[in-house]
C-alpha cells in the first residue's frame, strides 16, 4: 500500500540525513520526499511517500517517532486527505501539429504552458501523482525532453490538523 507520511521536524543540522538514514538502514523504500520550512521558522515539514504493508508502515512511524529531530508524525493516508504534486515537462513542439496537440492535452489536464520557444513547450501540471503519471503516459509517444516532479505534498481533509 502507498502511504503519505507527514513529518514535522526541527530545523537542525543533520535532521534530513538522519531520516533518510533510517530508511536506508532499515530497508524502507522512499518513493518521494519533499522538505520545506513551515510557518513556524523552527520547523520543517517533510512529506514522504512510501510503500509497505501495515506492519512496515507501523514500524516506519514508530521508528520515526524515536528520532530526536522529529516533532510529529502522521500517516495522512489513514483518513480523508488531499494530495498534490507539481510537474514541469519540457516537450518538443516544433511543428504546428505538435504545438496544437500539446496545447490541447495541457488544457485537458488543466495544466499551463509556462514557456514557449520555437522548438519547445514547457508545461506545468498539478494534481495527484496518478494524474501526472497519466499525462506522461499520454504524451509518451512524443517522448518528453525533460521531466521534473516536485514530489507529493499532502494535508488532511476537514478539521483534522497536524498540531504540535
Amino acid at each position: 500500500m502507498r502511504h503519505i507520511i507527514s513529518i514535522l521536524v526541527v530545523n537542525e543540522f543533520g535532521a534530513l540525513g538522519r531520516i533518510a538514514g533510517l530508511f536506508t538502514a532499515r530497508g524502507y523504500n522512499i518513493e518521494s520526499l519533499t522538505v520545506a520550512p513551515t510557518d513556524d521558522a523552527t520547523l520543517s515539514r517533510m512529506t514522504l511517500v512510501t510503500i509497505g504493508d501495515d506492519q512496515i508502515i507501523e514500524q516506519i512511524i514508530k521508528q520515526l517517532n524515536k528520532l530526536l529531530d522529529v516533532v510529529k508524525v502522521l500517516d495522512i493516508t489513514e483518513a480523508e486527505h488531499i494530495e498534490r504534486e507539481m510537474m514541469l515537462v519540457k516537450v518538443q513542439a516544433a511543428t504546428n501539429d505538435a504545438r496544437e496537440e500539446f496545447k490541447r492535452l495541457t488544457d485537458i489536464f488543466r495544466g499551463r504552458v509556462l514557456d514557449v520557444t520555437e522548438k519547445t513547450y514547457t508545461i506545468e501540471l498539478t494534481g495527484t501523482s496518478s494524474k501526472l503519471d497519466a499525462f506522461l503516459e499520454v504524451i509518451g509517444r512524443k517522448t518528453p525532453v525533460e521531466v521534473v516532479r516536485s514530489g507529493v505534498i499532502g494535508i488532511a481533509r476537514g478539521d483534522r490538523q497536524m498540531r504540535i
Binding site: F13, G14, R18, G21, K62, N65, K66, D69, V70
Partner: protein
Amino acid sequence: MTEQAPRIPHSTQHPLAGEQMSGAEMVVQVLADEGVDTVFGYSGGAILPTYDAVFRYNERQRGDTGGAPMNLVVPANEQGAGFMAAGYARSTGRVGVFLVTSGPGATNTVTPIRDCMADSVPVVAITGQVARGAMGTDAFQEAPIVNIMGNCAKHVFLVTNPEDVEATMRTAFEVARSGRPGPVVVDLPKDVQNWVGEFHGEGLLDVRGYRQRMESLRQAKLSERKCRQFFDLLGQSSRPLLYVGGGVVSGDAGDDLTAFAKAYGIPVVTTVMGLGAIDTTDDLCLHMLGMHGTAYANYAVEDCDFIIAVGARFDDRVAAKAELFAPMAEHVAHIDIDAAEIGKVKLVDWAHVGDAGRSLRQLVEFGRSEGFRRDFTPWLEHVRGLRGSYPMNFDRETPLIQPQEVLERLNTLTRGEAVIATGVGQHQMFAAQYLDFHRPRQWLTSGSMGTMGFGLPAAIGAQFANPDALVIDVDGDGSIRMNLGEMETVTTYGLPVKVLLLNNSCDGMVRQWQRLYFEDRFSGSDKSLHRKDFIKAAESDGFEFARRVTDKAELGEALKAFVGFEGPAFLEVVIDPDAGVYPMVGPGMSYREMVTGDHIPSRDYGDSRDGPERLAPSEAF
C-alpha cells in the same frame, strides 16, 4: 535511567552562573554537575582544550575546594575508552562518558557507540571536531561524525553555536538516560571549545517532540481495563512463562520482576541480556533461553501456553522464526519501553509501552486488589522436572580441559557474586550458561552487536565504577587480541581486574559453525600457528600474577589462586579446541530442532529431527 546526580533545582542558581568560561570549561562543568567521576578517553589535536579544562578542573578541585577530582582514564585505543565507559554504565546504570579527538579518535569509537545502541546502554561520547571554519574542507583529522554516528547512535549533536554548548551537554545526558537508554554523541568543534562566554548553569535544548514523548512515557500507566485484560489472559493460562530481556536490567526492574514472578509462581527465562534480572539460582529461574539457552529453558518455551515478554524483543537469537517461537502459546503479552519493539517481530495480544518496573508493580497491585488467584503448581513442577531431566552437562571424562569445567569451578569460587565481562564467542556462551548472577548488572556482555574485544575494556570500566567488586573478564584468545593493548591499562591504574583467558587456539564459535555447516573447512579461524605467548604478554604489561594451566589437575588450585590474588591477575587455561557450545538451536530453526550434544539429554519428538546440517550455509546467520 538512573539519576546520576542530584540535579540542581531550578530555584537555586548554579554557583558559577554568570561567570565567563570557555566552551571547554563549560563542558567539564556540566560533566561535574551530572556527577561524572570518571572520564575515559584519549587526547588529540581537536579535543586539547577540553583535556586542558579537565586538568585545570582537577587542579582547582584539589586546591581550593578539596572536592573530588574527575578521573581521566587513558586507554590504548579509543575503542577501549568506549567500552570502558560502556562497562561503567552497564555495571552501574549511570551514564558512562568518553572523550576523544576528531577524525580517527572519533571513528575508533564507532564500534562501541553502535554496541551501546544495540544493547541500550547510556553513554555520552564527546568527540573533538575541527574548527567550524575548517569543516567540510577535508581538514587534518576531519571526519563527518554527524553522518557516521547518526546511523549508529541514539542521537548526535553537532555544536555549531557556541552559546548552546552547556545546554547541549545537559541535553545529551537527558537523552542518553531517558526512555530506552542509548549512546549520545556530542561533536564539538575546536573553536567552540575555545570560545569564551557566560555560563548560565541551567538550560536544555528544545527537543520538544522527544521530550513530549518521554513525558507521556513517564505518565504511561496501565489502565484498569488493561490490567483486567492481562489477568484474564493469566487466568486462562495454565502454563505461563516470563520471557525477560535486558530492558528489565536497564530499567532497574529486577526486584519488581522477581516480586511479580513470586507473587504468582511464574517461571522465568531470560535472554543473554536479561541474565541477573532475577537471581539465576532462584527456583523460578530457568536461566537463558535461545540459540544456546539451557535445554530446560527452551523446552519450557516449547511447552508454555502464555508468554509474558518484559523488556525483551524476540530477536533472531531467541526467535529465529517468530511463528515457530513458543508454538503452544495461545497468548503473548509484551511490556516494553520502546513502542517500536511491540509487534516488530511477534504479534502480541496484549501490550503495554512503559517502564518495566512500574508496569509490573501496577500489575501486582491490581492482582492483589482483585484477589487474583491461580495455582500454577503443576506447571512449576513440570519445569522443575525439565531442569532435572535436561541439566547442563559436558564431557567430564576427557583429559582435555573443558571450558565448561573452568566456568563451573569459577562459579563455585565466586558464588554468583562477581561482576563478569566477556568477549564474544564460545567462551561468552559458556559463561552465560555456567555462571550465576544474583543481581542485575553483574553480567556485562556484548549481546546484540556481538563485539569481540568487548570484555577487557568493559571489565576495566566496571572496576572503576565498582572498586570493591570482584571483576573478572572471561575472554577468548580471539576476542582478547582485539583489544590486547588494554592489558596495560589494567596495570597502569592498578586495577584488581582478573582476566581469565580460555585459549583454544582458534575462533571457537566460527570453528563450531564451520564444523556444522562448512564441512570442517576452518577458513581463517585457526590460530594454532599463532605464536603469541599470552603469559609473556601479561608479564610485559606488568601483571604479577600470570599463569598458564594446561593440566586438568592443576585447574582448581590455579583458579583459586587467581580469584584470590589481590591485584591484577591473568590466568590462561588451554582448553579443548573441539569443545562445542550446546544446546544449540541452529539459525532459522525452532526449539524443537534443538541439538543438545553428547552430554545433555534431549527430548525425542519422534519425528525427523535431522539437525542443523539441513540449512544451506547461505541461509544461516
